[in-house]
């Protein structure tokens, strides 16, 4: 009989829960890990703060600039589709630490939507922090199994002739959807177009809409 064959029931009680008041267990675990990493000298508090500062400084405005430029400049769109990282650098945007960003173009006949079923991979440099629903288990599981149902809940009704392509970003690549340029936006300038490109449309769960013309 090995020393480990005994009953471990004494481990099941006697510990205070590792929480700070109403702090969720996961948050407490992350905080404890962070404290340990700092204590062991693996990371510094300043590294963590700078990383958070960087993340919250990012926003979908950058992704929208890429999309709007691609709408008005077909050659730029081609470069964006071939190498989104270089295209972002071309506009002086920070494409982030991921070595490869891939842009996916929605067309009349194809609609892309992005999910990360394993965690919450997201092009943070170009879109900012991901929305909470993107990280939720219901979105992550249902986006792959019933994308049309999920899209309908976001208010997107696609015709049957449109092929739905769900992209599960399971590894090192970050995906950005180039939504279709809305009808009725023909006279808008690039900056005005960029204002129509929402975060959700670059995840592929929304469709940009042109502003309603003001009656003369």
């Amino acid at each position: 009989m090995s020393p480990h064959d005994h009953d471990h029931h004494e481990d099941d009680h006697g510990h205070e829960p590792l929480t700070n008041g109403d702090e969720p267990v996961t948050a407490a675990r992350v905080r404890a890990l962070g404290e340990l990493l700092v204590e062991k000298g693996v990371i510094g508090r300043e590294d963590v703060r700078q990383r958070i500062d960087w993340l919250v400084s990012r926003s979908p405005v950058d992704g929208a600039r890429l999309v709007a430029r691609s709408w008005v400049d077909p050659e730029f769109k081609q470069r964006l589709l071939e190498d989104a990282r270089s295209a972002a650098l071309e506009l002086d945007l920070d494409p982030g630490p991921s070595p490869v960003v891939v842009a996916l173009e929605n067309t009349e006949s194809v609609h892309h939507m992005v999910v990360c079923t394993l965690c919450s991979c997201y092009p943070k440099a170009l879109l900012g922090p991901p929305p909470d629903w993107y990280k939720s288990v219901p979105y992550r599981s249902r986006a792959v199994a019933d994308p049309r149902g999920v899209l309908a809940e976001f208010g997107v009704q696609l015709e049957d002739g449109v092929e739905v392509r769900v992209v599960d970003s399971t590894a090192d690549i970050r995906y950005l959807v180039i939504p279709r340029r809305p009808a009725g936006a023909e006279t808008l300038q690039e900056e005005e177009l960029a204002a129509l490109v929402t975060r959700d449309s670059m995840i592929g769960v929304a469709i940009p809409v042109a502003p309603t013309p003001v009656a003369a």
Binding site: V144, A145, V166
Partner: protein, 93 residues
């Protein structure tokens, strides 16, 4: 790079203890290589503080939704794409 665009592949059905980036719902499923991305560090060792070398080729693989789910509620022709490392792919007919 063992596979090229257009090639039919199958995701290995094997189990794996520990961190890996092959979703369970795709194991054993047949798909087609859509694009060859590049080589990346192997997350199965990199996640544990090792160097993740040698780097492994990563592919974007296309699956027909009807091949992935027994009862897909969408429309025939809908597709699912995922990034799969080479050592999780097998040749298929």
């Amino acid at each position: 790079m063992r596979y090229g665009p257009g090639q039919t592949v199958r995701v290995a059905a094997r189990r794996h203890e520990g961190h890996h980036r092959t979703p369970a719902y795709l194991k054993g499923k047949r798909g087609t290589v859509e694009r060859v991305h590049a080589r990346f560090r192997n997350p199965e060792t990199h996640a544990y503080g090792l160097d993740g070398l040698p780097e492994q080729p990563l592919y974007l693989v296309r699956f027909e939704q009807e091949d992935v789910w027994g009862e897909y509620p969408g429309i025939a022709g809908d597709r699912l794409y995922a990034d799969v490392f080479e050592h999780w792919l097998e040749e298929a007919e």
